[in-house]
């Protein structure tokens, strides 16, 4: 430990101490990658997180320093430092933090040399461009453009960059002119350390639809059990009565018990049977 503390200049010493203080103060310490986020957007993200999380941008070496000094399990965070890491501190649980960070993701225009995270498709139809050199630029980028009725029109929908391909300068230029934003930008969580446990991003992605469906299923199961086992509750009493009445009616009709409430049902049934026999008689 002394090895680390010895030779740091005061400002670095202060940074390390601040990291350590936050790590002790907050339940969750997360490592996020902020690569590619423009300064303006970073401001917005900080604002969005204010009140629920603290974002700390510092050098990777100082992060390593701080956790190494703290030692113990938290030092494991250092194994995940990669690219432009920043620290995030919060008392939220890691699933919530992950969701919050996902919500800060926005789409941005591609810069030359960036790898496309998805297939980029240019839709067919008119553009806002007046006729001009733009047509040639589009065509050079492999986009089927033409001038129709005094307007630049894309003749057919075409996938111009596949997922994982590098977006070259020409392509980046026309995509931005077409206002196509293929790049996800935001703070992506690399690891979260929360109350002694590490959480990987892949375990933190929650399928809310599945939870919703399970809630529906659970509510249905409870309803079924309440009705089928005849455990009346305020919610199910009406349904149970309905079931009882239907069963009584079934018995009344099946056994031809001539009671006022069901005599019409019995007539209906005999009529149906008669019609079935009549149909046969008429056929023969």
């Amino acid at each position: 430990m002394a090895l680390y503390t010895a030779h740091l200049p005061q400002w670095k010493r202060d940074e390390v101490e601040e990291i350590k203080r936050h790590a002790e103060e907050y339940k969750l310490v997360g490592l996020v990658d902020f690569q590619g986020i423009p300064a303006s957007q970073m401001q917005q993200m900080r604002r969005n997180l204010r009140g629920s999380a603290v974002l700390k941008m510092t050098r990777n070496t100082l992060i390593e320093h701080a956790f190494a000094e703290m030692g113990g399990e938290i030092e494991g965070i250092n194994n995940h430092i990669e690219g432009h890491s920043a620290l995030i501190f919060t008392n939220e649980n890691p699933f919530r933090l992950y969701k919050k960070l996902q919500e800060t993701m926005t789409k941005m225009a591609a810069k030359p040399g960036e790898v496309s995270p998805e297939d980029i498709t240019v839709p067919k139809g008119p553009t806002s461009f007046p006729p001009g050199p733009i047509v040639g630029q589009l065509q050079q980028a492999g986009i089927p453009a033409a001038i129709t009725g005094g307007k630049v029109v894309i003749r057919e929908t075409k996938t111009v960059v596949k997922e994982g391909e590098v977006i070259n300068a020409k392509m980046a230029d026309v995509l931005s002119k077409l206002d196509i934003k293929p790049i996800d930008v935001g703070l992506s969580l690399q690891i979260a350390f929360y109350e002694g446990t590490f959480f990987e991003p892949k375990t933190l992605a929650i399928d809310e639809t599945e939870y919703f469906n399970n809630l529906v299923l659970a509510a249905q199961q409870a309803f079924n059990l309440s009705v089928n086992a005849v455990i009346p509750t305020a919610t199910t009493a009406g349904a149970i009565i309905g079931k009882a009445v239907r069963e009584a009616r079934n018995l009344g009709v099946e056994a031809a018990i001539y009671e006022k409430d069901i005599v019409e049902l019995i007539i209906g049934r005999t009529q149906r049977e008669s019609l079935a026999v009549k149909a046969i008689v008429e056929e023969n």
Binding site: Y258, E259, K260, V263, I266, I267, R269, T270, Q271, R272
Partner: protein
């Protein structure tokens, strides 16, 4: 169901559905008639529009038909 059929025959023939009439139809079929069931039937039919009930059963049959 015999009792209802007897009532329906009488109704179809334009006769009053009375205890006596139902009993004699059932007897003619060789059925040992249970007086109480006849009484219950007549009581249950009191105020019921048989024509209407028959018509409704036809509607039901139509509804059921596609499943047939």
């Amino acid at each position: 169901m015999e009792y209802i059929y007897a009532a329906l025959i009488l109704h179809n023939a334009g006769k009053d559905v009375t205890e006596e009439a139902v009993t004699s139809v059932l007897s003619a079929a060789g059925i040992a008639v249970n007086d109480s069931r006849v009484k219950a039937l007549i009581a249950a039919l009191d105020g019921v529009d048989i024509e209407d009930a028959i018509a409704k059963s036809a509607v039901a049959a139509v509804a059921a038909a596609p499943a047939a």
